[in-house]
């Protein structure tokens, strides 16, 4: 049959067609670049591909035997999106979840929008579109039943993949109707009726990961598991100083070693997020390549950043703090006057270190270059950006690069950069054989895009009624001129901007030759620590209950003052934050914390990021010897009206909280002589089971569209723990990690 296409709303298209051999195929287009351009009139109507076009990015197919296949379009990195997005479609399609098979889409930006895993965006951007696709497919199947029975569609109901016409006691399965449904005109996506949330059968249910069985039986799923005919294994040795280049290397000696088939120098460029200089070694076994690498002798041209160090960064920050900030990011009222008249003022300096992502699956990628075309298998969080990087570096059109999205063994933001993709592509092309590039753990630590460290100096003033009336902040970060290094930025509207009548936030930056990037709740993961700690200091300095002090602060909203050249501050609802603060106060037994023994204390913090509102209380015990144990964490979160998958949501919150505790306890990447010092789990400890406290999760459902879960629960736990340490010991933690502090008491 002829495929149909219908421009159904300003931003969405739906395509339906028959499957070869019978059945229904439903493909949607939402917000793709081409669709947007067509709607702007910048290009002609979109071409409609035939049903068997392999490019057609279908969301749903239903075969006559009743098998429902739903495509998960986004990369799965452990955030549960390969389960969650298909749940949205299945709900409105009205099939039983047990009927559904889920397939991972390959990279196909012509047909799938935003195939990336970042910014906790999958939920807010797909909540409506995925349900609309499911509802449209259901409407067509109902239409086919109505046609067959010659009854009004409105008289038909559906349940678990079956259409019923109760009045005549007739029913038919979706499989029986699928082929006929392919010739029913698709409904207007924007107007297709969606279920009343009260009738959801899948959304809101504890739903297990669709890959669980494959995981527990050891099936190949991850990038590292890919194999290809004649596949070779590659290692790529880069200069430990970021961006350094190869001056010379003993390539002939390496090529003569057992198992080695190729060894060559890659010149590389200067973009720290692109292809860097190094030596590629390719062989018939990864282990043999590693052995050969031990014999590699490289003379490096380390370049201009070989002298940078963590120590020098701190020294530079101290110099900045001696003077005014380079520029102002936000200003309200008269800070100097308010500070002068405040009965209590407090001043403090804070800092946090560079940290690594340390995903358990080391960076890897498999690439095959044949006749000018590349095929790649990439555990990437942003495969489209990766393809663009490969295309521009290798000088080939992106259309000639096919990217298969594999499951990732953890992402945490590391795989938003695609250096491993461009390395694998370059090596495969030059070697002329299919190549699996796999980094070692040491390489993974030493060539990360680190969460940048940061330095903050604060002064705050509180009036006699316990109101925070003056705030002066100076953020020392990395960058050049008005540009912050990646993930080293701050928004002028960072809380408590707009809640303190006299407020100033300034910033100064120093240059950096270390690659930085997004780590779970980027920006927020460091900023929450310093802002919520200093707010806690002010509460204690004025002998206020830290929750009551914050409640007062949340009531002090002042409309923002625009600053030329700065984006408008992020919308922040004090009411939503107040609600989660109240909830966590009640659930944690905060009011009874006075009965805790000496050495045990509770701390509180809240933070808004990634559209999510989270307030958290940590209870911590510090032994007399100074050993810290987090006893328990209570979390209250508001991510809108609906928790889509309670299992995945709880996992993300618990994982985020434990991740944050690991950051507090002992994680730091030290830069010395221009390179990362720590290169093993022994030196950069992940949390272990016996350090993992219970994490109690409570939801405050609010009348807002659902938002993402991968990140916003992390930031508040960091200051909740350090504020609890203050409550337990009287010691204020102003720098991380705790392993650098003596917390002993008597």
């Amino acid at each position: 049959m002829t495929p149909l296409t219908l421009p159904v709303s300003r931003r969405a298209f739906l395509r339906v067609s028959a499957l070869a051999g019978g059945g229904l195929l439903v493909a949607g287009l939402f917000d793709t670049e081409d669709a947007a351009a067509a709607l702007r009139g910048e290009r002609g109507p979109l071409a409609v591909p035939p049903a068997d076009d392999p490019r057609l990015g279908a969301y749903v197919s239903i075969t006559p035997d009743g098998i429902v296949t739903i495509v998960g379009k986004n990369p799965e990195i452990g955030q549960g999106v390969k389960t969650m997005l298909p749940m949205l479609i299945a709900e409105e399609l009205d099939v039983a979840w047990s009927q559904v098979r889920v397939e991972q889409a390959k990279l196909d930006p012509d047909n799938y929008p935003r195939q990336s895993a970042g910014g906790s965006t999958a939920t807010p951007t797909n909540w409506l579109p995925m349900r609309q696709v499911g509802a449209a497919a259901r409407a067509m199947i109902v239409g086919a039943a109505a046609q067959r029975w010659n009854v009004p569609a409105a008289d038909c109901t559906t349940e678990a993949g079956v259409v019923h016409h109760r009045a005549s006691n007739r029913s038919a399965t979706y499989g029986e109707l699928a082929t006929a449904a392919a010739s029913i005109a698709p409904p207007d996506l924007a107007k297709v009726p969606l279920k009343d949330p009260k009738t959801f059968r899948i959304i809101g249910q504890f739903t297990r990961g669709v890959d669980n069985h494959a995981i527990v039986t050891g099936k190949p799923l991850f990038g590292i598991d890919v194999t290809r005919p004649n596949m070779h294994y590659a290692s790529f040795v880069k200069c430990p100083v970021f961006g350094g280049k190869v001056a010379s290397a003993n390539l002939d000696a390496i090529k003569a070693l057992p198992g080695v088939t190729h060894a060559f120098v890659v010149e590389g460029g200067d973009n720290l997020a692109g292809l860097l200089g190094g030596v590629a070694i390719v062989g018939d076994s990864w282990w043999k390549v590693q052995n050969a690498k031990k014999q590699l002798k490289v003379t490096w041209n380390e370049g201009p950043t070989a002298t940078q160090s963590t120590e020098a960064f701190a020294k530079k920050a101290a110099e900045f703090f001696a003077g005014p900030p380079q520029r102002t990011l936000y200003r309200d009222g008269d800070v100097a006057a308010a500070m002068a008249s405040a009965p209590v003022t407090v001043e403090a300096e804070y800092s946090y270190p560079f940290i690594a992502h340390a995903a358990l699956e080391p960076q890897n990628c498999t690439a095959e270059y044949v006749n000018g075309k590349l095929e790649m298998w990439a555990p990437s969080q942003s495969p489209q950006n990766g393809r663009a990087l490969v295309a521009s570096t290798l000088g080939m059109p992106a259309e000639d690069i096919t990217v298969h999205i594999t499951r990732s063994g953890g992402g945490f933001g590391r795989r938003l950069n695609n250096d491993y993709m461009v390395e694998a592509a370059w090596i495969a092309k030059e070697a002329g054989v299919p190549v699996k590039l796999l980094w070692t753990r040491e390489e993974d630590f030493q060539h990360d895009f680190y969460r940048p460290g940061g330095f903050h100096k604060f002064r705050g003033g509180v009036d006699a009624d316990g109101r925070l009336v003056a705030w002066d902040g100076h953020f020392v970060s990395f960058g050049e001129g008005e540009r912050f290094a990646q993930a080293a930025n701050i928004s002028g509207g960072e809380f408590p901007a707009m809640f303190v009548p006299n407020y100033h936030l300034g910033a100064s930056v120093m240059p950096l030759g270390v690659p930085t990037g997004f780590l779970r709740a980027p920006g927020s993961n460091g900023l929450a620590f310093v802002f919520q700690s200093f707010i806690d200091e002010l509460a204690h300095a004025t002998k206020r209950d830290p929750i009551a002090f914050r409640r007062q602060l949340l009531s002090q909203y002042v409309a923002p003052t625009p600053v030329a050249g700065q984006p408008a501050p992020q919308a922040f609802s004090a009411d939503r934050m107040q609600a989660v603060l109240d909830l966590v106060e009640a659930k944690s037994g905060w009011a009874n914390r006075g009965s805790l023994p000496k050495g045990t204390g509770m701390g509180v913090a809240f933070h808004f990021s990634h559209r999510g509102y989270f307030a958290e209380v940590a209870q911590v015990t510090v032994s007399k010897a100074g050993a810290v144990r987090v006893d328990k964490v209570w979390v209250a979160g508001d991510v809108g009206s609906q928790v889509i998958n309670p299992s995945g949501a709880e996992q993300q919150v618990q994982g985020s909280v434990l991740d944050g505790i690991a950051q507090v306890l002992a994680q730091e990447i030290t830069i010395k002589n221009g390179r990362a010092v720590e290169d093993a789990f022994r030196e950069f400890p992940l949390l272990r089971m016996n350090q993992s406290p219970p994490v109690e999760v409570h939801w405050h459902l609010s009348d807002n569209a659902p938002t993402g879960m991968g990140e916003p629960a992390l930031p508040p736990v960091v200051p909740a723990v350090t504020n609890a340490i203050f409550a337990a010991t009287g010691k204020r933690i102003r720098s991380l990690p705790l392993s650098k502090h003596d917390l002993s008491w008597s």
Partner: protein, 161 residues
């Protein structure tokens, strides 16, 4: 050198360097991808398999030391994915990214073989060697308790997912 192993009940012979770790024999010579590479330094536990019934880090176990050994990997934990731990892991939805879970399962299987009804403290002591970057520890602990219960129960037919 030629190394003959019994892997998941099958006799296999490979010709590899004597110092090649068991991990790479399993993954790249025998194409058993379930066992994972995390650090190569016996610090994370992702590569945990059973050698003659004991949980070991296969990334640091040289080929020459496993001549004639009986190896069990996650692929051989049960014939059809119905080991009590595998059922419990699915039922409680333990995995997040899933990368460490083969090692967690093999370590937990050793624990349950020795201690059929472990306490929380016994679980922590045994499992503390295995890192999970997603920090699924709370569910791993629950999963081991649940598997201990299921050990006594008859094996149900596996559901479709």
């Amino acid at each position: 050198m030629n190394i003959t192993l019994k892997v998941n009940g099958q006799s296999r012979t490979v010709d590899v360097p004597a110092e090649m770790p068991l991990l790479w024999i399993l993954r790249d010579e025998l194409d058993l991808k379930g066992t994972k590479f995390g650090c190569g330094a016996a610090q994370c536990g992702a590569c945990t398999v059973h050698v003659n019934g004991a949980a070991v880090r296969s990334c640091r176990r040289a080929a020459s030391t496993v001549q004639g050994a009986e190896i069990t990997t996650v692929e051989g934990l049960s014939p059809d994915g119905t080991h009590a731990l595998q059922r419990a892991w699915d039922e409680l939805d333990v995995p997040q990214c899933g990368y460490c879970q083969a090692g967690q399962l093999m370590k937990a299987a050793e624990l349950l073989a020795k201690t059929p009804k472990p306490t929380d403290a016994q679980i922590d002591a045994a499992m503390n060697t295995n890192l999970c970057r997603c920090a699924t520890y709370l569910r791993i602990r629950q999963g081991i308790h649940r598997a201990a219960e299921l050990m006594d129960a008859p094996t149900p037919e596996r559901e479709n997912r």
